[in-house]
């Protein structure tokens, strides 16, 4: 009984870390441009189709295929900045968010146009053999995903808080005009953020879809990860891990113990309730920046 409880909590935590990995797509773009990217799920699907195309359809060696997918995703990220966001530097945040909604629709249409609506078997990039510890069973892709999420979060946390480029990107997120006045290239910062978003989407897709089926509807996980991003606060990379763990454990235990009792899917609602409660108390999320404005 206790082992089962721990197993549900552990798998929930790993699922939460997967959500945190997806949510990094929101935070990376937001940290660099103050844009809430509504198309995170679609970017993940595009990354997944690139991996599928390279590894399964073109039969490249997985290492070569993944490298190719990563390279193309960087180019896609740069193209998004060049075609859509470069013109919006200095414009209102609202305009930029509307453009990301347009981007969501455009990317969904492009994926349908290029690869069609058929379901594709996503290659098992990560072994599907589960990790068995006594009576506990842990899906290997989720375990690998948890590890990748921690490594990515540590790397991105260092990058945004310690590196010159990362700090410049944070300044861009504060205010485009001030960043420009300080000699920071807003264009380059935003381009870098979108390229980084592209890379993250490829990595996340391999964790999420390894050995499963891929369609354009796989983008749904983008919205499933939303509570994690909002709970953490949209500026905190490290906070995503804690938020992911909280959401994942709560969701996992609800699915295991509450859903069978009520005969419904409380697990899909509880993370949102939890998020709402936290946002009522702390509107910027648990680790979001507190902005002091001079009146």
């Amino acid at each position: 009984m206790m082992i089962e409880f721990v197993n549900y909590a552990l798998n929930g935590a790993l699922l939460g870390l997967l959500y945190a990995l997806v949510a990094m797509g929101f935070v990376v773009i937001y940290r660099a441009s103050k844009v809430f990217n509504m198309a995170v799920g679609e970017m993940l699907v595009l990354g997944a189709f690139l991996v599928w195309w390279a590894v399964a359809a073109s039969a490249m060696h997985p290492a070569v295929g993944i490298a190719a997918a990563l390279a193309i995703s960087v180019l896609v990220g740069l193209a998004i900045e060049r075609l859509l966001f470069r013109r919006l530097i200095g414009e209102s945040v609202f305009s930029m968010i509307m453009v990301t909604i347009g981007l969501l629709i455009l990317m969904r249409g492009l994926v349908l146009l290029i690869w069609g609506p058929q379901e594709r078997p996503f290659p098992a990039i990560i072994s599907l053999t589960p990790i068995i510890i006594g009576d506990m069973i842990v899906p290997r892709p989720l375990a690998a995903g948890g590890l990748i999420a921690v490594v990515c979060a540590a790397g991105l946390h260092w990058f945004f808080n310690r590196s010159r480029t990362g700090l410049a990107m944070s300044a861009v997120a504060e205010d485009h005009q001030i960043a420009l006045a300080m000699g920071i290239s807003v264009r380059r910062s935003i381009a870098f953020a979108w390229a980084l978003g592209g890379v993250l989407s490829v990595i996340t897709s391999m964790v999420y879809l390894s050995g499963k089926s891929l369609t354009f509807l796989s983008s749904e996980i983008g919205f499933a990860a939303l509570p994690v991003a909002l709970l953490a606060g949209l500026e905190s990379i490290a906070g995503l891990l804690l938020a992911g763990l909280i959401v994942g454990i709560v969701q996992g235990l609800t699915a295991a113990y509450i859903d069978p009792l009520i005969g419904g899917n409380a697990a899909s609602v509880v993370p949102y309730l939890f998020m709402l409660v936290v946002l009522v108390v702390r509107p910027t999320g648990m680790f979001g920046w507190k902005r002091i404005e001079r009146v």
Binding site: N7, N11, I137, E220, A256, S268
Partner: protein, 408 residues
């Protein structure tokens, strides 16, 4: 001599041309087809749509010409979305003035169920029916009984053939609350188990996302409870996630799938042409096995003479089955009322009054007998059970009776 001949010839030709349309006066009846080319069923829509159009082409040439009636179909993409169907319908009604609607599934029923009686246009759907639509005097009619009816037919067969009727079959279901139709499948199965506790023990309903990230622990719970069969009537993504979980656990619990997420489609999505060997697909419509059935012969004829390109699979079958009932209902109405008096209301009346035999429906369905009590066939419903071997669908059992279920 030549001029009078030329004149009389011209006059005759002109008279002929003028009279020709009258002699061949043909009534065109408009049918609106709702489709999903950009939503969750976009991957299988082409096959279903091909089936629909081929049957209507066949009927126009073989039956309609003699009756001087032509059915014209116009297709609308509703993306399997309630809001999309609801917003498109007033325009469809005004533009096309359809006498019949070919619906796709649950969202169409949810969007139009309340409106159609007022609009006097019946809708026929190829999918199985839903408990929330199980009300008297409906205009949204399914050619198959509800998903729980189909699952119940299978479970009774499974109990009799695999458990020798010695104990109740233990069943779990994996579903989602993403759409009312998916949630309804679990509720109906629970109601059936409650009413027939001697035959079925309901283990648990696992509620998950439409595309689950992982189901290992949930499936282990079902396995630990001694589940005999896992029912999945939602989509292929859940079927694949369940299969992966079973593989991870080293368990071999048979999965019962529906037709839109059948063994072939799910195997393809799994990346293994034989991935779902030992599992089943169940539906109250002809199966897609290679057996030389009347339905298969009709399909081949449509391929040869009416340009049917869709593969021989469950989705094509849904399109064929749905449209064969549609054309037979129109035919019955034309014969009863005359071609110029065919209205949505008259077709609805014909659907309720006529018992369509399996032979009339070209062996695609066991027969259809609508009544005012339920929006799906009750008396004639039987399910076919198929599995797979060497990457092909094989028939396991045919014409398995569907038990009576209480409303839920």
């Amino acid at each position: 001599m030549q001029r009078p001949n030329f004149m009389s010839g011209t006059v005759t030709l002109m008279a002929g041309l003028l009279l020709a349309p009258a002699a061949h006066a043909q009534t065109t009846l408009n049918v609106a087809a709702l489709a999903d080319f950009a939503g969750p069923y976009a991957n299988v829509m082409n096959d279903m749509q091909g089936g629909r159009l081929a049957v209507i082409d066949w009927w126009n040439k073989e039956v309609g010409e003699k009756l001087k009636v032509r059915i014209a179909v116009k297709t609308y993409d509703t993306r399997y979305d309630v809001a999309q169907t609801a917003s498109l319908w007033p325009g469809i009604k005004a533009e096309l003035k359809p006498v019949l609607l070919l619906g796709l599934g649950g969202p169409d029923a949810a969007a139009l169920q309340q409106r159609l009686p007022e609009d006097k246009v019946p809708m026929l759907m190829g999918t199985a029916a839903y408990g929330f639509g199980w009300k008297p005097n409906q205009w949204a009619l399914n050619i198959r009984p509800t998903y729980p009816h189909e699952a119940a037919g299978f479970l009774e067969w499974f109990r009799a053939s695999r458990l020798e009727g010695k104990r109740p079959v233990k069943v779990g279901i994996i579903s989602s609350e993403a759409t009312p139709a998916y949630a309804d499948q679990a509720k109906g199965l629970q109601a059936y188990a409650k009413a027939h506790a001697d035959r079925v023990t309901f283990v648990e309903a696992i509620w998950t996302e439409v595309q689950p990230a992982d189901l290992t622990l949930q499936v282990r719970r079902l396995a630990n409870a001694g589940t005999d069969v896992i029912v999945i009537q939602t989509n292929t993504a859940q079927a694949v996630a369940t299969k992966r979980a079973l593989q991870a656990l080293g368990k071999n619990i048979p999965i019962m799938l529906s037709l839109h997420n059948g063994v072939l489609g799910s195997s393809k999505a799994l990346g293994n042409p034989n991935g779902f060997v030992g599992d089943f697909e169940v539906g109250a419509i002809a199966d897609a096995s290679d057996d030389d059935t009347a339905g298969r012969r009709f399909y081949r004829m449509l391929q040869e003479k009416h340009g049917l390109k869709s593969a021989w699979n469950a989705m094509t079958m849904l399109g064929l089955g749905q449209s064969i009932v549609a054309v037979r209902a129109i035919e019955a109405t034309v014969k009863a009322k005359g071609a110029d008096k065919v209205t949505g209301e008259a077709i609805h009346a014909a659907l309720l009054a006529t018992q369509f035999s399996g032979a009339e429906l070209m062996g695609l369905l066991p027969g259809v007998d609508f009544s005012t009590d339920a929006p799906f066939p009750t008396g004639s419903a039987k399910v076919n059970i198929a599995s797979m071997k060497d990457g092909k669908v094989v028939r396991v059992a045919a014409d398995v009776p569907v038990p009576t279920l209480p409303k839920w």
